[in-house]
Amino acid sequence: MLRPEPAVGVSVPKHEGHDKVTGRALYVDDLRMAGMLHGRTVRSSVPRGIIRRIEFDPAFDWGGVVIAGHQDIPGENVVVHVLEDQPLLAAHEIRHADEAILLVAHADAERAEAARHAVRVEVEPLEPVLTIEDALSARVKLWGEDNVFKEIRIACGDVEAGFGAADVVVEGVYHCGHQEQLYIENNGMIAERTAEGGIVVRGSLQCPYFVHHALVRMLGLPPEKVRVIQTVTGGGFGGKEDYPSVIGGHAALLAWKSGRPVKVVYDRLEDIAATTKRHPARIRVRTGLKRDGTLIATEVDVVMDGGAYVTLSPVVLSRGAIHAAGPYRCPNVSIRARCVATNTPPSGAFRGFGVPQTQYAMESHLNRVAAELGLDPLALRRRNAYVVGDVTPTGQTLRESVGAQEVLERTAERAGWAEKRRRYARENAAAARAERAGRFAPGGRRLRRGIGLAFAWHGAGFTGSGEVRLNSLAALELAPGGRPRVLVANVEIGQGAITVFTQLVGERLGVPPPLVLVETPDTGLVPNSGPTVASRTTMVVGGLLEQCARGMRERLELFVERPLRGGPDFQRVARRFLARRGPLRVERRYQKPPGVEWSDETYRGDAYACFSYAAIAVEVEVDLDTGEVRVLRATTAQDVGRAIHPVLVTGQIEGGTLQGLGYALLEEVRWKDGRVWNYQLTNYVIPTAVDAPPIEVVIVECPYSGGPFGAKGVGELPMDVPAGAVVEAVAHATGVRLDEIPVTPERLLRALARAAEAR
């Protein structure tokens, strides 16, 4: 008897690949409906003020133009996230530039655009709060008495005693700014009323049920009358986690008022200016160590800029805080994290969700510490990195699946860390000598090379009691032809979720993955298995599907009283089952793993079911004449528990690494009078294929017993490590250590000039 080929751990052909390479895949802007209107949004041009008057240009031909304002909202003027402070449309107060005030729509897109310009909103400006420092000063109060949306404290041991016992104490302050997700497909939604008095919304999104929940409140409809369907989505990275509730609400409101289908698709300028971005942060790190590099005390103070409304900030802050001390054994830790309100477009989810910020700071800091102690950055990590049995600052014992030391070793080995640290230092000294003697690199350039290292961890799944609250439900049923069909709300956004689901289910059922169907993420058809965020899709939802598949197989094998024997056999048995017994649907609901305990009140316990780990070595070449940093190579080992699909896992790591390199070197949101200044793609700079280095990936597998086939999370982890490594590589190359990212040529040359003056 032939055993079916394994489906897990194999890079099976990607499920969605064919449609994408032929241009057949339909993204929201490819869809058109009869009678469809194009919606546009009238936005504020000032960051803070009171709406005094709205005027409609009498010279404009308003025929055929649908207008919707806050007074047209049938339900509540609120976009529900963690709190309910964000309105769908500004009614009286403007709290950030490009806040939505009014909606217009017309059958002709040009007329809709012209109508947008024909609305004049008179706003009496108020003094805005635009930076973290402004907010903390609380001179102008936007939220409560202190402008703090949320504060979190985590502590273990006694930091002051720890600092007292340390041989050396080092302190630093690190800054990181906004980062735009820059999915190549802009936000877009199409909404239409249904004959049954409901609404159906289709669009580019990560979380159908988040949008569903928001629409139910905005439209004041019963849940069964609201339907949300994901269209093929051209990238999300968190930028389509909560924002779709806003644009979906806008499209729905226009559709509701007009009775016609309405498409709202942003152009790039609007998407960059108005939608969510990564939270900026100012992070102070103080560490006390023994001379041999053993960490004794770590104190971190994080302040993040949440923008004008709370949205997801408490969750971003939480995750950032829990990871803030890094994956290091340390008996005395104190973390204080605050998120402040400013008059900027609300910050939101972006791959990493608070962790890239805190890991950048901690890793930059430890690299500085290594330099001050005269220690090898790798040796410093090795000495302190977690091993099985260690306890985190929230009191979580890491009982299994800790690939921390291994990712450090494999990264260092593959990158040739020790040899390159020595070689680049030697070559830089030689280059400096040669230049003094009149000899330069080809083209007369003055180049220096460096290699830097960073290390991070990333908890998989929702934080603390989050997964319990999500209460995810997944289902697996038999389709009429006898094929298994997956029913979940989790979406494909490029990461290969559908393919992975078919592998997990296929493996358990003993059938080839292509036999497994996956239903469209449509709230009318699938249960709420939670959002596609937080590196949870494979581990949590895939885990539920794996259990569903077990259940389905048991049922069918009981039915035929023998083991199933592969694809064709499965289908025959399934068809027979359907004919004799009727439908078969197996559901599984999330259960908290045994022994996992968390308290939201004390902020202590098992913050995540498990953590993934990553290390990266980044090699750079710096041009001393221009401050340009070229990344020569990135080498990274990442512990994902189990690589269900090695090519997809490698793809996530490569893509996330390049986004992290962009965060470290290129990407900066510039502001002018409280508005995004560089809203054109030509001025918001992301890496091209030429900027991207060769990226070498080593997959490390330390299986997690609670994950399907041992899998943990991988989606966000790669984003957490590049920045700290880049800063160190530049320091290795030039002797100058920056405390702010992106490491732009301007900042680097200023720092080099200051260093030269100081000598």
Binding site: E110, N683, T688
Partner: protein, 294 residues
């Protein structure tokens, strides 16, 4: 796309003469806006900036195409694309700085459409081909119903986006004079390693005479002033000088007087001052090792 494209008219002339007549006639009413590759125009239209309602489509005018030998140098038709410039054997051999600039304008997709005439007419202070043409002392051939007119590049820019051309004149060709054996240097310092707008763009030509002194030096920069400019003071310091560290330092000091960079959306004044000086030194040391200052 924020401009009402469906309201925009296009006029397609039969030939150059017809185009010039149409352009001239339109000066009294709704002026025709010349349209070549469209790679700058459509970026403006996309942002909702509409330069006019009627466009004169030059793309079909064969008279504006082609690269020919002329007067010991080359004449490039105004509609020559940057791909054509980049790949033309004569340009690569004799005018390598121009081929280098062409290869750094946008990427393939832009180079296949953007034209030399368009880059000049757009007159952006960051235009990458402009410092090269200025250093070459290229000559713009313009034409109107009144006939042809040669405008030396050195006199072409009057001010920010202000060309010394009549509003009814079209650029028909650019002549590149013979340059002898000067060393060509081109460097664009952009916002990233490819497809970027320049923060500083630099072109230098230099040759040494038999006596070891500089007998030709041309230095032109973009993105460091409202117009692309020749660094005349720096050139003056260098012309006739023997390459030395002191000469390079003096040239650098003079350069800082020649340029007037600002803070803008891409970079800042201090960076541009520092980098312009550094790139000048890089140019000098590739031209003659004795210029080394360090």
């Amino acid at each position: 796309m924020r401009a009402p494209l469906s309201t925009l008219e296009v006029v397609r002339p039969r030939n150059l003469e017809h185009a010039l007549a149409l352009l001239h006639e339109s000066q009294d009413g709704e002026r025709l806006v010349p349209l070549a590759g469209g790679t700058d125009l459509y970026v403006s239209l996309n942002a909702g900036v509409v330069p006019g309602k009627r466009f004169l489509d030059l793309s079909g005018l064969r008279e504006l195409r082609g690269v020919r030998r002329r007067d010991g140098g080359l004449a490039l038709g105004a509609l020559t694309t940057f791909s054509e410039i980049r790949e033309h054997p004569g340009v690569r051999r004799r005018y390598p700085a121009l081929a280098a600039a062409a290869a750094e304008i946008g990427a393939w997709q832009i180079q296949n459409r953007a034209t030399l005439g368009g880059n000049i007419a757009n007159a952006s202070p960051a235009g990458d081909s402009l410092p090269v043409l200025l250093a070459f002392e290229a000559v713009v051939r313009a034409r109107s119903v009144r006939g042809p007119r040669d405008v030396p590049f050195t006199g072409l820019f009057r001010g920010y986006r202000d060309l010394a051309l009549e509003s009814d004149e079209l650029i028909t060709a650019v002549s590149l004079p013979p340059l002898g054996r000067a060393l060509h240097f081109f460097r664009k310092v952009g916002t990233r390693r490819a497809q970027s707008i320049s923060k500083v763009v630099f072109c230098g030509l230099l040759s040494l005479g038999r006596d070891g002194r500089v007998d030709l030096v041309r230095i032109a920069l973009g993105s460091v002033a409202p117009v692309t400019l020749r660094a005349r003071r720096a050139e003056q310091v260098l012309l006739g000088a023997r390459p030395s560290a002191a000469a390079a330092a003096a040239a650098r000091a003079a350069l800082l007087e020649d340029i007037a960079p600002i803070d803008d959306i891409r970079s800042d004044r201090d960076y541009r001052l520092l980098v312009s000086g550094n790139v000048l030194e890089q140019f000098l040391r590739t031209a003659a090792p004795r210029f080394v200052t360090r």
